[in-house]
Symmetry: none
DNA sequence: TATAACCTGCGACAATTTGCCACAGGCTCG
DNA sequence: CGAGCCTGTGGCAAATTGTCGCAGGTTATA
């Protein structure tokens, strides 16, 4: 790792994109963000990145479609797919298309970096990161789905295939400190 | 396919193995079955197969360990992993090791055959429009951490701040289907 | 404006799932 | 061999869930 890595983040949720970009910059990476495919390609052509973090669900289209164009620009580019709508089918497809790794959200910044760095086997990234506890993971996921449903508890419980009563009880409890 | 393909089925459930073998033979393939890794390799060396169907969970060891030896015998061998304990983490691993495809059980014979013949990008993968249920998310997370710890249950339980006994019980259960 | 269709909070109780302790056996390292 | 770790299991008490039911609030609409 001579110069600081240049990482391209393609993600259509501006809040998450911003948070991720900030977290990455704080760690010394140069980061560009794009909210959709066309702009992502334009940025990548302008300055070819060393790595990319792609959201699977970019509005209409799929982040999968970006893998090959990006790989064509730089065959050693490390690409991680990140998504709140993970599935085995898309994971298989992503890896076959050349992605380095595939992570279901929520994933924290260090996990993402570890995924990018793992195959390169570089010295930079500290692998031994503590994973989120299941409680914390559950809490984050519930919060995300809850906001997607505008705070509607019944709808959220249905989407999560969880009993409304149980969801209510979980929400009443502490936001899980660690 | 000109000559009838020779398919190796490695599966430790004799009932399922028998059913799959019969179904494949009925379709004109030549099939060998093995219940465990050692025998699978012996059969493969005796007559190098064109394709293999591996169970991910072969008693003690993992079907993942068979991928590379088989590929070494015949680099064009098509390998499909099949498992009742599917997770994104192991799917990613399998594909990286060279598997052609990865299917959660139950998968019917035609699906398996389709997977063996499949080429990258030849079918559209549907993007899931529902987020994962909390149970499913938990399963995926556990599997991810477990593979990061090379299958060490005690270490995984510690990392997850979860009781080892509890983790064991969760692992024995089936992953959540949706 | 009455009505149906949802949502929410909450009590109660049974069914499950955890947290914990303990023990036995397997494996590896020095 | 002994120390240290890992794993599978049994048994219980404690905690969490799954279910029902009910009262009261909102919202869309005929």
């Amino acid at each position: 790792m001579t110069a600081p890595w240049h990482i391209l983040v393609v993600e259509d949720d501006p809040v998450f994109a911003g948070a991720l970009a900030t977290a990455l910059r704080r760690r010394g990476y140069r980061v560009d963000t794009a909210a959709e495919a066309k702009r992502a390609i334009a940025l990548a052509v302008a300055e070819i990145p060393d790595a990319a973090v792609l959201d699977l669900k970019l509005g209409e289209n799929s982040g999968l479609a970006l893998i090959q164009p990006l790989k064509a620009l730089n065959p050693t580019m490390q690409i991680v797919l990140l998504t709140g709508y993970a599935s085995i089918a898309t994971a298989v497809e992503a890896i076959k298309l050349g992605a380095t790794h595939y992570l279901p959200k929520p994933a924290d910044t260090d996990e993402i970096l570890a995924a990018l760095g793992r195959v390169v086997g570089d010295i930079e990234v500290a692998l031994p990161e503590e994973p989120m506890s299941v409680d914390r993971l559950e809490w984050e996921h519930i919060q995300k789905v809850l906001t997607e449903h505008d705070g509607n508890i019944s709808a959220t419980a249905r989407a999560l295939k969880m009993h409304r009563r149980t969801l209510q009880r979980k929400l009443m409890k502490r936001p899980v400190r660690e």
